[in-house]
């Protein structure tokens, strides 16, 4: 009975991983030289044309950057100028998860009337965003359906801009500089 209890797990005396130090010697089997694979070999975007008479192989692989926008109308680069294709392939992931939303359902006339009523009641309290969230539609739809009068709109926008300007005046110099730099960068997009 005691023999059974002696069968316990013991750590091996040799370790099975490579220690971090001493560093592997480059040029040896510990760290073999880096041999990059030829990008022309087995490349899906490469067109290979073999000319056995001249014992030549032409491999045309355009650079993986975006193609030039200039093209001929007979063979346009833009898919808008070609009939729509429908290969069912896996597409890359969407940039932002909010883009996966489905088109919102059409609102009834009663709901639209309610939107108009609330907006005219108090445009400061019932903003476009708030109404859009309440009725599950887009802000642009609210703007289309329940636009404020031009005078009210300009007044609100002016008030908002003045508030923002006052806040920007409170910024430290460093913060203003960073904001100015990012605004300038935007011009180079």
């Amino acid at each position: 009975m005691l023999g059974h209890r002696l069968v316990s797990f013991t750590r091996p005396l040799t370790r099975a991983y490579a220690p971090k130090w001493p560093r592997p010697k480059p040029g040896t089997s510990e760290r073999p030289p880096y041999r990059p694979s030829d990008p022309l070999n087995n490349n899906p975007s490469a067109t290979v044309t073999a000319l056995p008479d001249e014992n030549l192989t032409f491999i045309h692989r355009p650079p993986p950057t975006a193609p030039s926008p200039i093209s001929y109308t007979t063979n346009p680069v833009s898919p808008l100028l070609r009939p729509p294709s429908s290969p069912s392939s896996i597409l890359p992931p969407l940039l932002r998860p909010s883009a996966d939303k489905s088109v919102p359902i059409r609102l009834t006339a009663v709901q639209v009337a309610e939107i108009r009523r609330l907006r005219s009641l108090d445009p400061v309290k019932w903003t476009r965003g708030r109404l859009a969230k309440k009725f599950d539609c887009t802000q642009q739809f609210v703007a289309l359906v329940a636009a404020t009068k031009k005078t009210t709109r300009t007044k609100l926008i002016r008030r908002r801009d003045e508030e923002h300007e006052a806040n920007r005046g409170k910024w430290s110099e460093k913060r203003s500089l960073v904001a100015a730099i990012s605004q300038k960068r935007r011009q180079y997009w």
């Binding site: 975006a66 001929y72 109308t73 007979t74 808008l80 294709s85």
Partner: protein, 350 residues
């Protein structure tokens, strides 16, 4: 040397290079040497002004006509003289030589020629880039046959020493005349003369060889304020699925030098691709690329069909009846999007 001195020097150099005295009847002229009734000989006229009043030598005019390949059209010295005389010259002539007969100027010819050049350039740009928005097409036409290219072509032709003009400051009623304005009138007048003495197709050939063969970069003329909004409108016009941006490749996120490659897709078609150091920047560039791919699609040169091809070749009435001409009208494309399409410059409205 200040800018005023430099300006004077360049003007004097221009005048001095134009004067050749071999063809003048009387040289040195009396008016430069003596004034009647005075003991000490003094010039009544400034030498530079006198030089600008003299006609260029007929040999130079003939050489000019041969150089530009229109020696058969410009068969007389008077015709070439008329081409190279700007209407502002008459003012100078009247001031200093009031008794001399008024010389013919290129004012009317330049006006006709300007319209013809606009016609040829517009049809060419439209036929070559059928999807280009109107504001860009206007800019392209100006870049091909506007006042600046006309002045440049005149200088390249070698018409600068032959030009007779007079600088004037702009008033409230009349615009001023600068050297480039006067030079620009020469190719326009040439176009009109070719049209009058030969035919419309000949005038078109002239404009094509001198102006429409010049390289014009259209990408610099197309600017966007909100390319995503413009692309959305364009996709709706073509009745496709709404554009969605997808991340194609990325590296270095959260580092100090990230690179994102974003593609804008309509359904399964990739409309445009862009890279950037932020997701928003890459998306912006992808939208720009998508729009440029449509705008900059050009017709192959051998397939360009110009409406003025239907006009008759040869001298005669422009509207005379002709046998059927081999002309295939271009297919109508989708009209341009209205967003950011009006006016010369787009300003953001609040």
């Amino acid at each position: 040397m200040g800018h005023v001195q430099r300006r004077l020097a360049s003007t004097t150099a221009k005048l001095a290079s134009s004067l050749s005295t071999a063809h003048l009847q009387k040289f040195p002229p009396k008016e430069l040497l003596f004034a009647k009734g005075r003991e000490i000989p003094t010039a009544t006229i400034d030498p530079d002004t006198w030089a600008s009043l003299q006609p260029p030598p007929p040999t130079a005019l003939s050489a000019f006509a041969h150089r530009i390949g229109l020696s058969s059209v410009l068969n007389s010295t008077e015709a070439i003289q008329q081409i190279c005389t700007h209407p502002s010259f008459l003012q100078l002539l009247k001031q200093h030589k009031p008794h001399e007969q008024e010389s013919a100027t290129n004012g009317q010819l330049a006006a006709i020629g300007n319209s013809l050049m606009g016609l040829f350039a517009t049809e060419y740009v439209r036929a070559t880039y059928p999807h280009l928005p109107t504001r860009v097409m206007k800019a392209a036409v100006t870049a091909h046959v506007g006042p600046l290219p006309c002045a440049n072509v005149a200088q390249e032709m070698g018409a600068t020493p032959l030009l007779r003009w007079h600088r004037s400051r702009g008033t409230l009623l009349k615009p001023g005349v600068l050297h480039s304005d006067a030079l620009a009138s020469i190719p326009r007048a040439l176009t009109a003369l070719v049209y009058q003495r030969r035919s419309l197709p000949s005038a078109r050939q002239f404009v094509h060889s001198y102006f429409l063969s010049r390289e014009v970069d259209l990408r610099g003329m197309i600017k966007f304020l909100d390319p995503k909004k413009a692309l959305l409108e364009m996709v709706k016009k073509f009745q496709r699925e709404l554009p969605k941006s997808r991340l194609l490749k990325e590296t270095g996120r959260f580092s100090n030098s990230p690179v994102f490659v974003v593609g804008i897709f309509s359904g399964e078609d990739q409309l445009g691709e862009g890279f950037g150091s932020s997701l928003k920047m890459a998306e912006y560039r992808a939208a720009e690329d998508a729009l440029l791919r449509v705008y900059l699609s050009r017709t192959p040169p051998h397939l360009v069909q110009l409406p003025s091809q239907t006009f008759p070749v040869g001298v005669g009435d422009v509207y005379r009846k002709l046998p059927e001409v081999d002309y295939k009208a271009a297919d109508l494309v989708e009209s341009e999007i209205m967003y950011a399409s009006s006016g010369n410059s787009f300003t953001r409205s609040s």
